[in-house]
Symmetry: C2
Subunit: 273 residues, 2 copies
């Protein structure tokens, strides 16, 4: 490990991002010395996993060479407030919070944003997680770039605005897609159809766009402008007003994207024919 | 190949389902003897791929032991009309069309519905494609069940109604998810952010639910009830009314699902604060 690297990292938080990042740091040979977390139970658990010491707060933290704040977006200003004037190099891991919220702590501050969906009990190959970084100065940028490159094959610089857009794009592509999976599961289970039948389709849909633009990969009745199938779906959803609304919103957007001169309001009139 | 199997299959259609099913039949050792398609160009191309003869219509088709109608949903009744009284065993491959549309053709009729998103230029491992079957009588059911099991590891019986529900669930989980990917790509490209950054997240989101229920796998600001992030997203989407509508619809549904006592209309009021 070179002089330039971090040998005494303090990790703040014990949620899913802290866990996965902590494990990735450990596996890459970095030393997480302390885990700091307001809940001792989860904090001690993660400290144990990482071979680190648990601390309840910053009062007895001694000269870390990097503080990584991996807590929820809302809690970052609070943590920054506890680090005023500490002069420890510090980054947060959040997509939507500005870099400058950490200015109060140190002249070396930045962002280390691993762009992936992390759950506590789900293994993730961190080498495939894009890490989006930003920093207050070039020298510190180089240091956290090197750290990021030790963990992941994809590292890029994004400023506050671009990082926010990426986060928003992730909400559409991941959080909302996952909710669609939940809707689909619910539809199937209500009708005694095994959810497993849907898994290969979901996998293939995500796989397809690794090599094909999404607009090229699009299939389905709205893409084809297939009015009779859309009307059959209206009938199946007649007792599910929330799903019907979502169905119409998507279908209208897709019909428009593929220049079909119809909308679901035209089709609605014929739903009982 | 046993007596019971199909050695002289006529495949109707030359679109993505016909292509992938035809190739799967060929690879499993079945003989596709004829490809029937109204467009000679695409029909001949597929016939060549399958080592079959192209026919423009049914007039010179001689005693196939199975006719597989793999055309668009709308065209199936038309094809059925051309097969009235032919007595050839016949199936269609469609999720939304009733089995009985084929009753006019034969006493042995049914459905052979491969549940996957197929694109012309995208290879698919057919052994992992669930095949949902149904048939007019038990003997014919057994025959197409055997055919399905020769191609795929997942075969199940679904009646018309369940097949329609599965198709609808697929529209939510696949077509609409893919459209979300397209939205995300558009957001990124407009802001000069590489779409590739999003691919690992999309992959992991689809992978996660192979082992975790979607409602358990859900992450993101709406799941957490994180109002300040949701409001930041409103601001980023203020010039994108269609996306903002979609964002609000999802967010309200997710807030409700996870029992957060707020809705986007409460947050809207504060968007400029």
């Amino acid at each position: 490990m070179s002089e330039n690297q971090f040998n005494k990292i303090a990790l703040v938080g014990a949620g899913s991002v802290a866990i996965h990042l902590g494990l990735a740091l450990k596996h890459a040979g970095f030393k997480v010395e302390n885990v700091i977390n307001r809940s001792p139970e989860r904090g001690k658990l993660l400290a144990k996993k990482l071979g680190a010491h648990y601390l309840a707060d910053f009062s007895i933290l001694i000269n870390p060479d990097l503080v990584i704040i991996a807590v929820s977006d809302d809690a970052i200003p609070l943590i920054a407030g506890q680090l005023v004037g500490c002069s420890y190099p510090v980054v947060h891991t959040c997509g939507t919070v500005t870099k400058d919220v950490l200015k109060v702590a140190s002249s070396d501050y930045g962002v280390f944003y691993p762009f992936q969906t992390f759950s506590v009990n789900n293994a993730v190959d961190f080498s495939k997680v894009p890490v989006c970084i930003d920093a207050s100065n070039t020298a510190f940028f180089k240091r956290i770039e090197q750290l990021a490159q030790s963990l992941s094959g994809t590292v890029c610089q994004l400023d506050d605005q671009k990082r926010r857009i990426l986060h928003l794009a992730g909400v559409f592509a991941s959080n909302f897609s996952n909710y669609l999976y939940a809707i689909a599961e619910d539809l199937l289970l209500k009708n005694n159809i095994p959810f497993e039948l849907l898994l290969p389709l979901i996998q293939e849909t995500a796989l397809k766009i690794q090599t094909m633009a999404p607009l090229e990969a699009q299939t389905g009745p709205a893409k084809r402008g297939d009015q009779s199938t859309i009307q059959k779906h209206f009938q199946l959803l007649q007792n599910e007003p929330d799903l019907l609304e979502l169905y119409k919103t998507f279908t209208d957007n897709i019909l428009k994207t593929y220049s079909h001169p119809i909308s679901t309001s035209d089709l609605d009139l014929n739903v009982d024919k």
